[in-house]
Symmetry: C2
DNA sequence: TGCGTCAGGTTTACCGGTAACGTATCAAAA
DNA sequence: TTTTGATACGTTACCGGTAAACCTGACGCA
């Protein structure tokens, strides 16, 4: 990587600073200077050095850090995609990390990213260690917390209420005539969001006078198998459930598979409801009753809120991105 | 972010350079100096500045860039996960981007990342623009190409042969007595890998004396819907197929759904085979016949090969990570 | 006693940008 | 004609580290 601003300056017969201004598209130079400089830069194969730029002025960083619970999650893949597209379009670069649903791992990751002096950060969830909060306050760079709405965000927040998701599904199932509901969840480490949905679900059922009959929360990854065996366990304890709400769609599909293997008719004998809106759920023989989460939109909104703040535009502190309950044929 | 090396140096009564050496764990200082410096650094809440470090010396960068076709792909999510875990463990940071299967977008992304002077790059696929190759040669930083094995990698390569995947599946299906095979693919933009599998599949069938009867390659995203309607189209043209090989598992599951909706028995009336080894495929009522791809292992191997090179250890140029054909109950 | 050696530092010179500020030029206004 | 202001550019001082050269006192040894 040989050519730098000075080389161009020498070759174009102007000063370093003029080259810098031209290449950054500022002002303070004549049209002919601009043409000469851009031509020389091209012939020399100049590649800008953001390291130097960000180092020289803390305003110049175009680096955004983002931390998600798991990189293998379909939902977060779409969130990442939304963030990535928006940031790319706006001229920012994305540094990522995963924290396995652990606030301590998140802090460790933030400690690494902060050392690159990023322009801003996007974090998933609202649970942070005190150390994390300290670090963020000290760094004073904009932070967007996504996924769950925070009552008091560190800085900005984009997402929806998991409690409300559960509550809405509870109301829906009651309206459909369900009276004996169960819940199957999973918490790999500690997925607080799932717990919030469960709480919303149970609260609503109780208020409606038909409280939850049985619940089973596995200490396992929330996948197909957990749903399959979770429903088996639940029905072993309480055979007369008329509907089961699952932690997410993967688990619901697992539950669906178990119900079919037992010869149970869905939705006649038992209803099945999931959460998340994964693609597979819509092409099942019977379309899954679920809550569709606007993953890409959340990512996009988060990135845009962050960049707006960086550009000094007054952005919203809290952005609500609504979910949508999709009735389907299993609930 | 207030405390820097000089602040610590002043407070500890030593020089900046001594602080730098202590904090980076070098040598050339006494134990009491070390203790004093680390204590002062802690009380001042010092956060290292990698920007300055990487800027000051090009060896000091711990930044690795990685470009994948799509962030929403389940398979690449796992590859990313493998890379992320390995790099985190080894003390590197990961900058990502997506190129939508487009070599031009890849070049644009590389141009951005190169400007951060990364220690190394991980790219997906072997198709690059001439501009990309130029850039990489000029930057002279290590590059690992993953996913498909390259005959002549730019630098290093980790993956497997897509052609062989298709060929192996062809052999397997022939052994199972299939004689009238079809293929359903998809190319959002241009997925060259899928084409390689198709080629391996067709070549093997021809050599075995039972060439492919029909193929349908949709200009669509390779998902459930594409598989569903792809099989519909294919069977509309050639009703007497006895097996269909799909671009990937999502599409195969879509095909499975179509077969069931038509009342076709699987595998008796028609066999279904996929590729990729997605989790859902193993919990279907009938486990899908597919090729399991060691996604996480590829990511891990790529990261480790890169870091080995960075540390000057002699690494392998080409690492083969074998795939595994899983018979299942649909083929 | 003189000299080399070595651990344990310090000093200095960058790295490649950006920001702040200074200055030359020239046209319009007074 | 002089003053003013805008424009276009040059100069210089950093930013926070790293590398390498350079000290310095203690110690060993001939």
């Amino acid at each position: 990587m040989k050519a730098n601003l000075e080389d161009i300056a020498r070759a174009a017969g102007v000063s370093k600073m003029t080259v810098s201004r031209v290449l950054r598209g500022g002002s303070g130079f004549s049209a002919e200077t601009r043409d000469k400089v851009t031509k020389v830069a091209e012939t020399l194969g100049y590649v800008p050095n953001r390291l130097a730029a960000a180092f020289g002025s803390d305003q110049a960083s175009t680096l955004v850090g983002m931390c998600v619970p798991r990189l293998t999650s379909g939902l977060f893949g779409h969130v990442l995609d939304g963030v990535d597209r928006a940031l790319t379009r706006l001229g920012y670069q994305l540094m990522i990390g995963a924290n396995s649903h652990s606030a301590a791992e998140e802090e460790a990751w933030i400690r690494q990213v902060i050392s690159w002096r990023p322009a801003g950060l996007i974090l998933s969830g609202r649970t942070h260690t005190p150390g994390t909060v300290d670090l963020l306050r000290q760094a004073a760079s904009p932070v967007v917390e996504i996924w769950d709405l925070t009552t008091s965000p560190i800085d900005m927040s984009v997402g929806f209420s998991h409690f409300d998701c559960g509550a809405e599904m509870g109301q829906f199932l009651i309206r459909r005539g369900r009276r004996r509901a169960g819940y199957v969840g999973a918490l790999a480490r500690a997925d607080v969001m799932g717990a919030a949905r469960q709480e919303g679900f149970e609260t609503t059922l109780s208020r409606a006078g038909h409280p939850l009959i049985a619940r089973e929360v596995l200490h396992d990854a929330p996948g197909f198998y957990a749903g399959y065996y979770g429903l088996e366990t639940l029905l072993g304890r309480e055979p007369k459930l008329d509907v089961v709400y699952f932690h997410n769609d993967e688990m619901a599909i697992g539950g669906l598979a178990y119900a079919q293997s037992r010869g149970l008719r869905v939705p006649e004998d038992i209803g099945i409801a999931g959460w998340g809106g994964m693609e597979a759920a819509s092409i099942l023989p019977r379309r899954l009753t679920t809550t569709v989460v606007p993953t890409t939109a959340i990512g996009k909104a988060a990135a845009e809120a962050l960049v707006a703040r960086l550009k000094g535009e007054p952005g919203q502190e809290v952005t609500v991105v609504p979910t949508r309950l999709v009735p389907g044929e299993t609930g």
